[in-house]
């Protein structure tokens, strides 16, 4: 019965402690192998010259200076910002609209919730391949829509604006359902009586949304925004599959740039330096998220 006797202070029972260690050991091992080790290796590589997996001399922060001053990397920062913010706004808006629309538990709503979840549960890779085909010049939507009017030359992926548009659309198409789930959970936790009371009090639908729904949904909204932002900043699959970073690197995000530095240019030192910068940025976002979950920081 006394699994954690040492927690009770004195009289520590060694057998009990060893048992406790055995319980957490597998988790610790996995954490070590797949988080701690790669991270340490990454940092180690990032301060050395690495060519084709051969670790060379220690060069301090040269890799960091190198990537942060590279025009391609700078371009990828801007692209990432545009992609992440654009996708965030689009995805969040659609997710919130879906959540509000599908909140009631009617038969249709439950069915539609399942339907909008489909893009989210199929593999990102498959989803992006699918969209790539749907948006392709020869067999896709552009041809089907514009063809009858005699235009056959338009390629979505050849124009930097429409390519970015396609990319954000891909992100929204997949992740709006994720936003919807988080926001739906928040909406469900608002007592229906509040809305009944507000209706009797004479509040219009818009007033109820603005003065009840939005403020009471503040925490779920913030959580959704941070989660989506992290996801979009780090995502690689959309860009790799849908646009390949093109045309002319106008959709090459940091993640894709890192991938290319590492696995196309084999500049693993620089790739790791860039990914460590990303790591720091992610840590900041995660601490915002943890802060949002902290009890006592919650809204009234």
């Amino acid at each position: 019965m006394r699994i954690f006797p040492s927690l009770r202070g004195k009289g520590a029972d060694d057998g009990g402690e060893a048992f406790a260690m055995r319980l957490v050991a597998p988790a610790l091992l996995i954490e070590f192998l797949f988080v701690f080790l790669p991270l340490t290796l990454g940092v180690y590589y990032s301060v050395h010259t690495v060519r084709y997996f051969q670790v060379g001399a220690f060069i301090g922060l040269d890799n960091y200076v190198g990537v942060l001053t590279s025009p391609a990397v700078r371009n990828s920062f801007v692209v990432t910002a545009i992609f992440a913010l654009g996708s965030l706004i689009l995805t969040f808006t659609v997710g919130l609209a879906l959540a509000l629309h599908l909140e009631r538990d009617g038969r249709m709503q439950v069915f539609m919730r399942a339907v909008v979840l489909v893009p989210y549960i199929i593999s990102m890779l498959v989803g992006s391949l699918l969209l790539r085909w749907v948006l392709s010049q020869d067999s896709g939507v552009p041809q089907a829509v514009l063809g009858p009017f005699g235009s056959s030359g338009f390629s979505i992926f050849a124009n930097s604006t429409s390519a970015m548009g396609a990319l954000t659309y891909n992100a929204m198409w997949r992740d709006a359902a994720f936003a919807m789930i988080l926001l739906l959970a928040g909406l469900k936790s608002i007592p229906l009586e509040l809305y009944a009371a507000a209706r009797v009090d004479g509040a219009s639908a818009w007033y109820r949304f603005r003065r009840l729904t939005l403020p009471l949904l503040k925490t779920p909204i913030l959580i959704t925004i941070v989660r989506l932002l992290m996801h979009f900043i780090n995502s690689l699959t959309f860009q790799l599959i849908l646009t390949g970073g093109g045309p002319a690197n106008t959709t090459e995000t940091i993640a894709l740039r890192t991938f290319r530095l590492g696995f196309e240019d084999y500049a693993l030192g620089r790739a790791n330096a860039l990914s460590f910068v990303m790591f720091i940025f992610n840590v900041i976002l995660i601490s915002v998220l943890i802060h949002l979950f902290k009890p006592g920081e919650k809204l009234r």
């Binding site: 009586e193 009944a196 009471l216």
Partner: protein, 365 residues
């Protein structure tokens, strides 16, 4: 002032009939309690009146206007919900001011200030205006909910079990406060409760519901002393009424109720007494049977259980085939196993038809 009328109002949810053809007339200034067990259709009635649900058929009138198609905010009503439904992210002030601001009818800020403060003072919560609902006790939240309803000065107040979440003592005090409030503002109040004591103490009229049907509508006095059927007789009253199945017949010219072990003469003024012998159920409340220790051979029962109820005792006495709850004096020191003599007060006999459960008095009068 504002009267309310339901005529032939029906409401069902899927296959559940929540309200089966309600006819109810509420006079202006009345305090009407909708009383019934849970699931009997009280909240449904209130929500229909508030406009939160739409009636399947029938007419609902507030004032002399048919309101079936009006939205809740245009019905001249205010509502207090069972869980208060205070807006958790707003201060007490903002909560009370909400109905004034939400309508967008352009109350000046100074006027809102004045109204909210006035209401808060009249409810004794003026010092709480800057707090948030979760910083208040249940009783205080209750008052804020009342305040939010009062601030609009509506024609009709709707209250859905507003005291059920409070502890017993506070509930009794709030009863008096709400009654005093009604005496002061004289608005029409429709008050939902499953607590018969609340209904009896506060209302000018009580509507008793069971299974979506109105069983009886009358003053607390009528409901208590002249129940129209066995359901009302049993539901109203502190403890369950005693029902004894037996026969009404004339014994030596005197109408008498006969049951195993019992032979009780009945007041002869009642008309049904002259009828042929018939089956009947006698309903009689605890306070109308008095138990006294006996040595002799009168109507005798055996005490099975004794409860101390404040100033006196309640004894459960086995007599014939029935167990009856009766009053007894504290000084009698009854114990289980004692033999007792029972005195019945014929003024409090209620006779019911065993088949229809309707009151015999009601059916022939």
């Amino acid at each position: 002032m504002t009267e309310v009328r339901f005529s032939h109002v029906r409401k069902s949810f899927g296959s559940v009939i929540a309200l089966a053809g309600l006819d109810l007339d509420i006079k202006s200034g009345d305090f009407v309690s909708l009383l019934g067990p849970s699931g009997s259709g009280k909240t449904t009635t209130l929500n229909l009146l508030a406009g939160l649900h739409a009636a399947d058929s029938g007419d609902i009138l507030i004032g002399d206007k048919r309101v079936n198609d009006l939205s809740p905010d245009r019905r001249n009503i205010a509502m207090v919900f069972q869980n208060y439904a205070l807006y958790p992210h707003m201060t007490v002030f903002e909560n009370i001011a909400f109905p004034l601001r939400a309508r967008g009818r352009g109350f000046a800020e100074a006027e809102i200030q004045k109204k909210v403060k006035g209401v808060a003072e009249s409810l004794g919560v003026a010092s709480l205006l800057a707090r948030y609902p979760k910083e208040l006790s249940g009783g205080q939240q209750q008052r804020i909910a009342l305040g939010r309803a009062m601030v609009r000065e509506p024609g009709v107040f709707l209250l859905d079990e507003p005291l059920s979440n409070l502890d017993a003592r506070l509930r009794i005090r709030m009863r008096r406060d709400i009654k005093a409030l009604h005496d002061r503002i004289r608005s029409t109040i429709v008050y939902v409760t499953h607590d018969q004591a609340e209904a009896l103490t506060m209302s000018t009229k009580i509507a008793v519901f069971d299974q979506g049907e109105l069983q009886q509508y009358g003053s607390p006095n009528e409901i208590y002393h002249r129940p129209l059927n066995m359901f009302v007789a049993n539901f109203v009253g502190e403890r369950e009424i005693n029902f004894i199945a037996g026969q009404l017949q004339a014994v030596e010219g005197i109408p008498t109720f006969i049951a195993p072990g019992l032979s009780l003469p009945v007041n002869a003024e009642e008309r049904w007494c002259s009828l042929e012998p018939r089956d009947a159920v006698l309903g009689i409340r605890t306070e109308a049977i008095f138990a006294r220790p006996t040595a002799g051979s009168e109507t005798v029962g055996l005490v099975e259980q004794v409860e101390l109820v404040g100033p006196e005792l309640v004894a459960y006495v086995k007599i014939g085939e029935s167990q009856l709850s009766c009053r007894a004096e504290l000084s009698s020191e009854l114990r289980s196993g004692d033999r007792v003599h029972l005195t019945f007060d014929p003024a409090h006999f209620h006779f019911f038809d065993p088949q229809t459960t309707a009151s015999l008095a009601g059916s022939t009068k």
